[in-house]
Symmetry: C3
Subunit: 338 residues, 3 copies
Amino acid sequence: MADNSWSRRHILSLEDFTPSDYQTVLQTAASFREVLSRRTKKVPALQGQVITNLFFEPSTRTRSSFELAAKRLSADILNFSPGSSSLKKGETILDTAKTYLAMGTNLMVIRHQQAGVPTIIAQEMDRINSGVGILNAGDGQHAHPSQALLDLFTMCATLDGAAPHIDHLQGKKIVIVGDILHSRVARSNIWSLTACGAEVHLVAPPTLLPKHFLEAFKRPVKTGEKSPPLERRLYVHWQLEPALEDADFVMALRLQHERMSQHLLPSLRAYHRRFGITRERLQGCKPTVKIMHPGPTNRGVELTSDLMDDPELSLVPMQVTSGVATRMALLYLIGGVK
Amino acid sequence: MADNSWSRRHILSLEDFTPSDYQTVLQTAASFREVLSRRTKKVPALQGQVITNLFFEPSTRTRSSFELAAKRLSADILNFSPGSSSLKKGETILDTAKTYLAMGTNLMVIRHQQAGVPTIIAQEMDRINSGVGILNAGDGQHAHPSQALLDLFTMCATLDGAAPHIDHLQGKKIVIVGDILHSRVARSNIWSLTACGAEVHLVAPPTLLPKHFLEAFKRPVKTGEKSPPLERRLYVHWQLEPALEDADFVMALRLQHERMSQHLLPSLRAYHRRFGITRERLQGCKPTVKIMHPGPTNRGVELTSDLMDDPELSLVPMQVTSGVATRMALLYLIGGVK
Amino acid sequence: MADNSWSRRHILSLEDFTPSDYQTVLQTAASFREVLSRRTKKVPALQGQVITNLFFEPSTRTRSSFELAAKRLSADILNFSPGSSSLKKGETILDTAKTYLAMGTNLMVIRHQQAGVPTIIAQEMDRINSGVGILNAGDGQHAHPSQALLDLFTMCATLDGAAPHIDHLQGKKIVIVGDILHSRVARSNIWSLTACGAEVHLVAPPTLLPKHFLEAFKRPVKTGEKSPPLERRLYVHWQLEPALEDADFVMALRLQHERMSQHLLPSLRAYHRRFGITRERLQGCKPTVKIMHPGPTNRGVELTSDLMDDPELSLVPMQVTSGVATRMALLYLIGGVK
């Protein structure tokens, strides 16, 4: 499983990930998926190492997924909970991180409501030559790389269960529907999916997907060992039906209730009427189309309950399952960087 | 320790437990009690398996007991905490459970303030052939089977320390005093104790023990391999003294302060005067009488402080200790069902 | 590592610690520091034992430090969280402690906002011959022995990295600056540092260091095998500059914001102007002077940011690192008392 081509100490965003990076993650996750199917599901890969979960923004689902991944790798885990912490006593976030560093932390998994916090901590950790690796578990509306990577693994493993490979995504049409503007999940998925050669179609009302949105993705792609796509194939739609035509994967994003109070949406019902995924609307997609959602789902809003529960259509449980193997892969890869 | 006679994947209530089920639990708990007396207190029984504590209703005591039981069985543990969870974001309870299933959970320990939630989750887990076992750790006023089973173990181990057996309960008189109406502990104990041949006497003011209370327990008992008592020996008292006569065990229930604001009780002091267990009132009991309480105790309300602290009389610490061994037994038994 | 001279089952305060006790802690911590530098950082010393963290006063930093120490010793850990606990249901603190005892706890680490709580629990645990050891992790304004012991280790390891010894503290000048009156850290450090032969200088405005403060430390020192200093060398200052002259170590204490609302201080800025540690003010100290702080720090109040971040001057990260080794030593020592 050792991969000499991996040299990233931190995973903060997918902006500069190369196709080779993605493929390394897929292969490593696939080998951990195999470990998880055994009776003894543990490997001693990170024995004696300390992984600290710094979740400044509370989360049960993502924290549990990382916690289980860390346990499967035999690491020791410390959980920082902001509720009862030194932050309330005036300590800076950097000092909190340095305290956990001084205790012996090797890897930090960081979630924060403000974009950029994991990057700032990573820069400081490098500046002082700490040797600590940082994994961004979601920062504001910026990035959620482990989610996009587990989504990538889920899609590639759906296309080829035995040997998930990014090449299978070439030319596939992926539709992302929902609150694109405020979604770190969408942003990270746009970087990964376009870099792997998929065609990405974004769908939302204009309040959640303004015209200028694509600007951020127009910078030149950095080169890896494989030549990346010359131009990202990324499209914007303000109506659902035309976007869904011939789609291979439809990813619905979570709609946050506060978008209503911000007057960005009239009502959940109105949203569902125009952008909710229903069985009927899937008619125009490829016959093999699959539905995805990062969770937690508002049933009957982003998609109907019967789609969510249809094992032929919904990849939602597989996304969660892939999450553990993918996060094991990420912790393993950055944990091995000297 | 393997028991081929056990076939329950879930433990949701004790209504349909057979004497043979109870005896299997007792024997398994006794063997784990022996494990806990060794220097190395762990067994690899559930190594690699994931036990998730879904405690929608917060609890420190019961969660700690289950957590220690799971650690002793070498399982990996995930703790779901409702405070910072997806539930606040509109996710359904079933979707929360399915998320933990998809992560790789093998057993779920569920507590919820609403009766029936663990049953609904168990039904869904069976419907989708998940193979997951559910253990009800307390649901509303419905059931708290692990508490009643640890109480059963405590009584039988008091009657015969070396080989706890349900037969020793035959004809024993057990008095349950307190807020019967709202108590899931009382309900589960009534099923187990009457099924094992004990005589159960319920005592409370009429507001906490209405006339119709017994109706729920009048359904025919399902038959197991041993013939169950033809009629449950279950009695209601509205006065304490006559009930205590010749009692073998007196179990006081926790009185919740909100019963006062609901006008079901005049005051804690008035309650203690009529229904509080005191040394004087125990005069009429058997000389070997023992006191029990599921905890946490309001000292001076349900029972006097000196009784609580009298190691000759109080089984309260033994109940807590038996809790770990009994919960190990339950997790082990349902974890072994294919 | 076994030390036959250690006989304390509890560590509640340092008042009666002998020089030999301190030296045993230093030696044991030094050997665990060596363990922590290995690739496999665990020892099986407390395998099968249960350590319960009873943190009635919430704390993330200290709890994490104890948790990691316990994991490194291979103990099982239970965490009691007051937020969702039986305390809210009217249970007494002693009953909470006894519940965890009955579950199988061997060692309890206790923090409480009221002085004396760990002592009361320890007395009860001894009275009932529980065999449980209690470690005070901070009680009100009374004591925080593990902090003072990690401070002692940090100083002695700074003076001689290879073989930390209390003799190196003989005649050293240590200045403690800040909210002395309300600080359990200051109290515990005064006992340890004066007992080891250091000269301790306390500095604060009179509202935070009243004249009578020294009274508490004037009782005769109990004798150990080495003759302790006949008189504690302990001095009070109400001005910073004269105190700092020729200082070897300057320990700044955390200033709590509520001291302002209590009218004990005009403002943070005024405090910093008179008592804040700055590079300029360190001119009068020994050239080898080091800065310490128990954390969390209010940068720019107790000390300037640049001092905090100067690895030549600040021992703050080393204090945190020493904390894990020192707490391993304390748990190991009291865990070995029969």
